[in-house]
């Protein structure tokens, strides 16, 4: 039953006010939480540009002098160029392998019929249930026997293997959504299986592939346990482990350490800010399917 119009005006004004106040409170909460995230970053950067003397005297505040040279020094002294390169040499093959192998396998699982399909898929799911971390002990000795310890392959191969189940799952569910009519008409036109894959399914799966790419990139770039166990040669260290090693060696020089940490996170933050849609989609898609 509709209330009389005068009363309606009051209600809508009341609603507008409530909405304003609600938005204000929400915005305040949102800002407050932003501080929770941003303050540690800001503080690390501030500390990175302070002088060693200033840190005990002024731990909290804005630097009195801005020693930008700390970044250059950390880079040079901490061999970060080496660590960056190693991370790149590991990430690129890993991502490529994951993308290619996952696409092929997901295609098979979504479009083809074959014996033992369900069993094989179930085996793949073990990869999702078992964390890679607990396998590090046997992995170390396996790779040692293969002579791969202290090489990039020691990081590329297990990492790819660990992410493949996720990749296949993700791409498969995406490929299953490809409309049947498109596939059927292609088949009628005489399209081969490979053609189906390359000309139809892959192009249509681009969003999922982009998400998988970004997700694999992030997970591999930040991987710590694998390289810490499998790489001891400083020349082969990846960035996270390099930073940790740097922390051990320069732990008495706080600004230098913070500069090293900043150098480590700037690139991935940049990549993230630009490609965040894909990052988030990658995670969401995986968890929701």
């Amino acid at each position: 039953m509709e209330p009389p119009s005068g009363h309606l005006d009051e209600t809508s004004a009341h609603q507008a006010l409530t909405k304003r106040v609600g938005r204000g409170v929400a915005t305040l909460s949102a800002l407050f939480f932003s501080l929770f995230v941003l303050i540690p970053f800001a503080w690390v950067i501030f500390t990175a540009v302070k002088s060693r003397r200033e840190v005990p005297r002024n731990p909290l505040g804005i630097p009195a002098e801005w020693h930008w040279g700390n970044f250059g020094e950390a880079w040079r002294v901490g061999h970060f160029d080496r660590y960056f390169l190693n991370s790149i040499y590991v990430v690129i093959p890993t991502v490529l392998i994951i993308l290619v192998f996952s696409t092929l396998a997901a295609f098979a699982f979504s479009q083809l019929r074959f014996k033992g399909k369900n069993l094989l898929f179930a085996i793949l799911l073990i990869g999702l249930a078992v964390p890679l971390d607990i396998l590090i002990i046997p992995l170390f000795y396996d790779l040692l026997n293969m002579g791969l310890v202290n090489t990039h392959w020691a990081l590329i191969l297990p990492q790819s293997a660990a992410i493949l189940p996720f990749g296949i799952l993700l791409l498969r569910s995406f490929m299953e959504d490809v409309p049947g009519e498109i596939l059927d008409s292609a088949k009628i036109d005489g399209c081969s299986t490979f053609g189906l894959l390359f000309h139809i399914v892959v192009p249509l799966s681009r969003p999922a592939l982009a998400s998988l790419l970004v997700f694999s990139f992030m997970w591999t770039w930040n991987q710590f346990l694998l390289p810490v166990v499998l790489i001891q040669d400083d020349r082969m260290r990846t960035l996270p482990v390099g930073l940790n090693y740097f922390q051990g060696r320069y732990s008495t020089n706080i600004p230098l350490l913070m500069a090293g940490a900043t150098i480590s996170f700037i690139p991935i933050v940049l990549v993230y800010v630009v490609f965040q849609r894909q990052f988030i989609k990658g995670i969401t898609a995986g968890a929701l399917k």
């Binding site: 970044f71 040692l144 001891q232 051990g248 320069y250 706080i254 690139p267 990549v271 630009v274 490609f275």
Partner: protein, 475 residues
């Protein structure tokens, strides 16, 4: 997606420009240029040198004969790359070794030396496997002793025995303390690894502060306790420690153990021999003294949350009067403290025992059996043990094992103190090195004791449990 790639490229460009602006002033790098040089065969020269010698504290100027050993360039050999694994976390030390190694390479045309630094954990994890699979280095500077040390690699048959070489090259004549045999005792003789410097653990102190308060390094433990109380009453914090990392605090305990316990018992612990237990009185006494110091507030605030870096930083900035730690810190303290840093060994608690601190030969040089450059490796070690290198080490504040005919002038008061302490006291042992689980238990037990969760007796019992296990397994 394309616009995203574009944005990213722009951002990368911006960062690159910023980075280029953030370069530190380039330091002057000395380039090593290899030249062909005619060298005469010179071995030993006797030279008259004016040297200042400290005799009983009074500097005297004296003319002395000094042996100067000059190495001549040996015959050039074919191209070789000597892979050296070096155990150290200190950037300065690693840099020095790299410089020394390139000097070595200069004298051996065709030879390059690659130094790979390793931390303690990493080295122990990798070296055994590397030796076993024959894929390791040609020379390595590793942890000494049994357990995870070089003696265990020797027992597994991986190392070249250096006993003869040591005699030939006079290595065993070059040490003022029994450094070379130190790590070989349980095998009764063969030399598998050779140390080239010595570390000590003792009390670093703020000389300026001591002078201000009219304090002197103590000669007896009572004097030390009085000194601590004086400092505390005057409003100063006596000690800094980083107990969060475990091992820095353990050093306080271990040095006390060396002050309360006869050295043969500590030796027995070190070599995993039966017949000694950490629940014995002397160990409990050491723990009790430490607890006493904690209760009296002699340590930095929140020391259980402080790390090793905090321990050193607090001392360097003058916030604590003393710092019990290892002499690998010498260079850091000398360079970064505003005040003069001194060192004295901990006085004995038990007057009936010999005076020992933890003077230990540092890590050892070893030569794996599988290397194709065995002779070159031995030449390299010979070079590292030479007077020239010893002098270079000495100049950085380190104490080499080399027996100088005349001890060079100390580069700092600290180094003079450390050198003297090394001669006054006897060797000690990192007795948990061969039992890693007991080592972790010791760290944890001491931390629990510090937090008040365990009594000193209980703490010792906790460590003893793992020690007993290790001994049982070693039999």
């Amino acid at each position: 997606m394309r616009s995203q790639v574009r944005t990213l490229s722009v951002l990368i460009l911006l960062v690159a420009i910023l980075a280029a602006c953030a370069q530190p002033t380039p330091e002057v790098v000395e380039k090593v240029v290899t030249k062909e040089v005619e060298v005469e065969k010179v071995v030993t020269q006797i030279v008259q040198e004016t040297v200042i010698v400290e005799v009983e504290g009074t500097p005297q100027v004296v003319e002395k004969e000094v042996e100067v050993i000059v190495t001549a360039t040996p015959e050039p050999i074919e191209e070789a790359n000597l892979e050296v694994w070096y155990l150290s976390q200190s950037p300065e030390e690693i840099q020095l070794v790299e410089e020394l190694s390139s000097a070595f390479a200069q004298r051996h045309p065709g030879v390059t030396v690659t130094i790979s630094p390793y931390g303690f954990d990493d080295m122990n994890k990798t070296i055994k496997l590397a030796l076993d699979s024959g894929t390791g280095p040609d020379v390595a500077y590793v942890s000494p002793g049994a357990g995870a040390g070089h003696v265990s690699y020797a027992q597994a048959g991986h190392l070249v025995e250096l006993t003869e070489v040591a005699t030939e090259r006079g290595w065993d004549q070059r040490h003022p303390i029994d450094s070379i045999m130190y790590w070989q005792k349980e095998l009764g003789g063969p030399i598998w690894g050779v140390p080239y410097d010595i570390t000590n653990v003792g009390v670093f102190y703020n000389k300026d502060l001591f002078n201000e308060l009219d304090l002197k390094p103590p000669q007896t433990f009572e004097e030390f306790e009085t000194l601590l109380a004086t400092l505390k009453d005057a409003g100063y914090t006596p000690f800094s420690t980083g107990a969060l990392d475990g091992w820095p605090f353990d050093h306080y305990f271990m040095i006390l153990v060396h002050a309360t316990t006869p050295i043969d018992k500590i030796e027995a612990l070190n070599y995993l021999q039966p017949g000694v237990s950490l629940s014995e009185d002397s160990f409990v006494e050491a723990a009790t003294i430490l607890k006493d110091w904690i209760d009296k507030g002699y340590f930095n605030d929140n020391f259980l949350a402080a790390s090793y870096q905090d321990q050193n930083n607090l001392f360097i900035t003058g916030e604590t009067a003393m710092n019990i730690g290892g002499t690998w810190n010498n260079a850091t303290f000398v360079q970064q403290a505003d005040f003069e840093v001194g060192f004295f060994p901990l006085p004995r608690v038990n007057p009936d025992i010999e005076w020992h601190s933890m003077v230990t030969p540092n890590n050892v040089w070893i030569v794996p059996k599988y290397t194709e450059y065995q002779d070159l490796a031995i030449d390299y070690i010979d070079y590292m043990l030479s007077g020239e290198v010893a002098r270079a080490l000495w100049d950085t504040g380190d104490i080499p094992t080399f027996a100088f005919a005349t001890v060079p002038e100390a580069t700092s008061g600290l180094q003079a103190d450390v050198y003297k302490a090394g001669l006054d006291t006897g060797i000690g042992y990192y007795y948990t090195n061969n039992m890693p689980e007991a080592m972790e238990a010791e760290w944890s037990a001491l931390q629990m004791m510090a937090a008040g969760d365990l009594t000193p007796e209980e703490a010792m019992e906790m460590i003893e449990e793992y020690h007993a296990e290790a001994v049982a397994e070693a039999q």
